[in-house]
Symmetry: C2
Subunit: 239 residues, 2 copies
DNA sequence: TTTTTCACCGATAGTACTATCGGTGAAATT
DNA sequence: AATTTCACCGATAGTACTATCGGTGAAAAA
């Protein structure tokens, strides 16, 4: 038995972390309805009343949980993206676009499940987190697709690009869940399906973009896109 | 004005229906967490204790709700399918495949939202309903795709077909929600996106199904087109 | 009419959870 | 060593909900 002389603040922080982890586990296993200060505190090994030493109330804990969860997801996405950049994969840039969120999701199954649940639940304290996470994924896709050369010049194409990104995002989540449930063991195959799905949709986009049905504006307007895919959102860690 | 001489059983049945409708509304607006016998009974205009005249407990009400909801969704799907059969739409068979579930979902927004929520919530009494509904949609898609000539001979193709159907289903729900939220006003456009999405994925399937077992072959430019799904395109206009 | 039935009511016991209280002992500070 | 700080404790008041009770009046049956 190690006898690490924990300082008071270290011990407190450790308890706090136990509370957060306990809440995450209960949230994943029993859902938001199963959450209570009693259960969380007990699972963390402290008295129910001591819960309030660390958090103002359950809402407060969930806020912190969402913040940290969002950071973890974003970090996983960043990491996967970085790894994808280092690897040869020039040929499969398109495919990587789908592997990255898939891997990020599967690296944190509880967060994925919680996010999917909370997204449409008006009573959920995590709804905001879920909506923002989904928006981040959608933007990631939209930006990556734009980077692949699928520009959206007019209003309609922009909307279509968004719709495609949203559909792809939903499919990504569904396949990630399927993978986590063991139905689709091969993550590469999931990425393949997503790649194939998007390819068809993008053809529609490009088709519309190159040969407009209503040539009212003869302006090609080949604007060089936002250039940085989703890098702009968290380019922070530099190179 | 109206003086409808309601028999006792008629009045009771009407109260029961009010309870179910009230529960559905609360469920949609506040989520499962906001549900209580107090609220439901009050919204239905009766005393809380009288709730138990009609249902054993809240679980019982939710069971009935799920049964009726499932029946309504299935009915809407059946109806849309029937209507699609009657219409000329030979050209847009493929597209109809996606319009049908879209319309069915949008006809019952509360049920769609509730289903999406409950699907991944382990604490939800409606989880079973959600899972079965999702499975029904997925099967609908898989069957329709099969009807379009995309056979799945071996294990792998079967799994891929299922994955495609699951992805498409998820995208369908996402776009239906987007439509209900007003972001995608044109349901036809949603169907177009879904059509395009599936077309790419089906190409992958067909490629695997018709081509010889040589995985190194790159994308062929020719179009064998067994059942002619994409032939109709949409107004084609080669441009 | 007389009697029975029963949908509905108010009251309430019981359960589960929240959030605050004063107390305690060991770490931290003096 | 003496004092202060504070993370944690048990107890408990307060809140919200569930589910059961006996009572009531009007519809239904006799």
């Amino acid at each position: 038995m190690t006898t690490p002389p924990l300082s008071r603040s270290e011990a407190k922080d450790q308890t706090r972390r136990r509370l957060i982890r306990a809440a995450l586990a209960i949230l994943d296993q029993e859902g938001e309805a199963g959450l209570s200060t009693v259960k969380v505190a007990k699972a963390a090994g402290i008295a129910q009343s001591s819960f309030y030493v660390h958090f103002k109330d359950m809402q407060d804990l969930l806020r912190v949980l969402a913040e940290e969860g969002g950071e973890r997801l974003r970090g996983a996405m960043r990491e996967a993206r970085r790894k994808a950049r280092e690897e040869p994969g020039d040929l499969d840039r398109h495919r990587d676009t789908f592997r990255i969120p898939l891997e990020a999701s599967c690296r944190h199954p509880e967060l994925l499940r919680i996010q999917l649940r909370a997204r449409h639940d008006p009573s959920s304290a995590l709804r905001d987190f879920a909506v923002r996470t989904a928006a981040a994924y959608r933007d990631h896709h939209a930006a990556d697709l734009a980077a692949l050369g699928y520009t959206a010049d007019d209003e309609r194409d922009r909307r279509r690009l968004e719709m495609i990104a949203e559909g792809i995002n939903a499919a990504t989540n569904a396949l990630a869940i399927g993978h986590l449930e063991g139905r689709y063991p091969d993550l590469d195959e999931c990425a393949d399906i997503l790649t194939a799905l998007s390819r068809g949709a993008l053809r529609l986009l490009r088709h519309e973009a190159t040969g407009p049905r209503h040539p009212d504006r003869s302006e090609p307007a080949h604007r060089p896109a936002p250039a940085d895919p989703a890098a702009g959102e968290q380019r922070g860690d530099g190179g």
